[in-house]
């Protein structure tokens, strides 16, 4: 195990000398997809709970499709499926985008986590106390003010426990990246496994790294809960 650490320790954590690899890539995938997914999911959650059919149905279909299929299948659709289509070849941008394992993985992760986060936030919005909304309406709040000052601050707070679960699941989901040739932690572990045939240690080190990141995330969210959920 020590010889693996000496020889591949840097590749597990930071870089293999040419590219970023290992923990840095995993964290990059995690942070990028969680941030984009969060930003997209708020308007989608508002649309999902708006009660207007023309808003509700498209979001419902989106979340049904992305929550009803495995992330691996979604990644395969983007990575090996879309690239074989004719119109993707003829467009420079699409060709460049779908040729990259990184972008395909990010696209799949963002859409997937966005679907789950939308449902989490929509659930929290639905549970908002009716009296709060009535009070805001009685004070003459505009729709924008109602959402930005009353509904969203309280709904997002109440969503923190389920949202922290979702973020940890996204961390777990990033381990799929190696199937799209992205050099994340698990890709390094597989390379080490095929180079040294010490499977237990090669994957064991990866497992411990993921465990440490998970515990960090849990600690961060516990802090957030203490700060923003004090009143509960």
């Amino acid at each position: 195990m020590i010889d693996i650490m000496q020889q591949y320790g840097e590749a597990y954590l930071w870089t293999d000398g040419f590219h970023y690899t290992g923990v840095s890539v995993t964290l990059m995938l995690l942070v990028t997809s969680v941030v984009i997914g969060f930003v997209l999911s708020i308007p989608l959650a508002i649309a999902r709970t708006s009660g207007r059919r023309s808003y509700v149905y498209p979001v419902w279909v989106f979340s049904f499709l992305f929550r009803g299929t495995p992330l691996y299948v979604q990644l395969l659709v983007f990575y090996s499926g879309v690239y074989t289509l004719e119109f993707v070849h003829s467009s420079d941008f699409l060709n460049w985008f779908f040729r990259s394992g990184y972008y395909c993985m990010l696209l799949a992760l963002v859409l997937n986590t966005c679907a789950y986060t939308t449902e989490i936030f929509a659930g929290a919005i639905r549970e908002t106390d009716k009296g709060e909304i009535e009070a805001a309406r009685a004070y003459g709040f505009s729709n924008w003010k109602l959402y930005s000052k009353v509904i969203l601050p309280s709904a997002l707070r109440r969503a923190i426990p389920s949202y922290s679960n979702e973020v940890i699941l996204v961390l777990h989901a990033t381990s799929l990246a190696f199937t799209a040739t992205v050099p994340d932690i698990l890709k390094i572990a597989r390379d080490v496994n095929s180079a040294t045939y010490q499977s237990f240690f090669a994957f064991g080190i990866a497992a411990i790294l993921y465990l440490i990141i998970s515990f960090f995330l849990v600690a961060i969210f516990r802090r957030a809960e203490q700060k923003w959920l004090k009143h509960l």
């Binding site: 990033t174 499977s199 237990f200």
Partner: protein, 228 residues
């Protein structure tokens, strides 16, 4: 319609389904054991159960799958070599079931633990007061009520298990993903066949949603009857 790959894909879909059902059963058994150990067990067994549920839930399922798949085979090789037996090759299906069941047992431990704790204390006290033995309390009072509270968590976990079976194609099992990828390679219609895989999964999850909706209704009406 499917360029002659229909049978392959149907076999794959059946493989996915049986894998999901088997691992769900295993994980329910492990989850029940873990929850019971955590609540009723001695200090040692509750520590073991806590370690199990904490560590497994912190590691991605794919990493555990590869760890167990490769690690188990090598450990077995060393064992057979040590005793100079013939080499035993692990069946990927068995490994898949063991791995997925083992992983989601940890998640179900928490589901069942929460459900056990949600059963009102008075129920247990009443049963004890009527002279029920601890086993009878568990079998007739605690367990049936616990299952109602566990149902939403069970549904969630079942859907996650169903979707996580897509990963077994990475360790070489001929599930529906593998079948559609093979069909894609044969015809170079990757997009079409991967969408087929997605549709099959959608069909499975929608069907499960319907079943759980029905189960939930069944339990809800039951609950109302007992309360009136």
């Amino acid at each position: 319609m499917l360029y002659g790959y229909t049978n392959l894909i149907i076999d794959g879909a059946l493989m996915t389904m049986s894998l999901a059902v088997m691992s769900a059963l295993l994980s329910m058994i492990l989850g029940l054991l873990g929850a019971c150990a955590k609540i009723f067990g001695s200090k040692l067994s509750s520590t073991v159960a806590s370690l199990y549920s904490t560590i497994i839930r912190g590691i991605p399922d794919l990493v555990l799958m590869l760890l167990i798949f490769y690690g188990l085979q090598i450990a077995l090789n060393q064992l057979t070599e040590f005793f100079s037996w013939q080499q035993i090759n692990i069946n990927p299906f068995v490994t898949g079931v063991l791995t997925i069941g083992f992983i989601y047992g940890a998640y179900l431990t928490e589901t069942f633990r929460g459900a056990f704790l949600a059963v009102l204390k008075g129920q247990i006290e009443a049963a004890t007061a009527y002279g029920f033995t601890p086993w009878k309390v568990f079998r007739f009072v605690l367990f049936p009520q616990m299952m109602r509270h566990a149902l939403p968590g069970l549904e969630n976990n079942w859907l996650v298990i169903l979707k996580s079976t897509a990963l077994v194609s990475i360790i070489g099992l001929a599930d529906v993903v593998k079948a559609t990828q093979m069909a894609g390679k044969g015809t170079y219609e990757f997009f079409f066949f991967t969408i087929i895989a997605a549709l099959i999964y959608l069909l499975f999850t929608t069907f499960s949603n319907v079943v759980f909706y029905w189960l939930d209704k069944q339990f809800q009406s039951d609950r109302k009857d007992t309360r009136v």
